[in-house]
Symmetry: C2
């Protein structure tokens, strides 16, 4: 069976109190960046890609984080430029953006 979405993107938008020791993706700007990604994906006409918000993805130390399925590629991102790179490289052309990837043990060495 073909997947329902070619790519399914989940951006953590979890919010914690400001002084929480784990921090939170929302406190690091994830909501604005997720909204930007959603608008841009629509502008680009990417109808087979779904951009979702998600609760805590439990990788808070790398936040803001997103995961793209079915590949299961994880990203950390902090700017509109990062989102544009993920969009144009990974989402449009299937080439993971290595500099932003999170591996099992942390951000991949360059």
């Amino acid at each position: 069976m073909d997947p329902y979405f070619r790519l399914h993107v989940f951006c953590c938008t979890n919010e914690r109190p400001e002084n929480h020791p784990r921090g939170s993706c929302a406190a690091k700007g994830s909501v604005k960046l997720r909204n930007y990604l959603k608008v841009r994906a629509k502008e680009l006409g990417l109808g087979d890609v779904r951009i979702n918000s998600a609760g805590c993805l439990d990788r808070c130390e790398h936040g803001p984080v997103m995961v793209i399925y079915p590949e299961g590629v994880w990203y950390t991102y902090t700017s509109v430029e990062d989102i544009e790179a993920i969009l144009s490289e990974h989402i449009q052309h299937g080439r993971p953006v290595e500099r932003l990837r999170i591996q099992a043990l942390g951000i991949q060495a360059p």
Copy 2:
């Protein structure tokens, strides 16, 4: 690379106003059932499985819905019994629960 979670489960908990024509998963009890799933997964010690909430997954007509990655298997569920079936069959033993699956065009014929 191994996936970060063996299974990553996303339950829609989107909420819309009561009279919205598309309805919403939250209005159909998804939050309670998602919380039940999360508690039960923890009780069963399923440390390699992540149960997440998600925003609207855009399959509202089948709600409440969940999707399990990396397989990309979609479910509709309405009761604790449905959740228990997905847990014991799919999540613990890798056998999709055909009676609850949503296919591209709707619920699979029995």
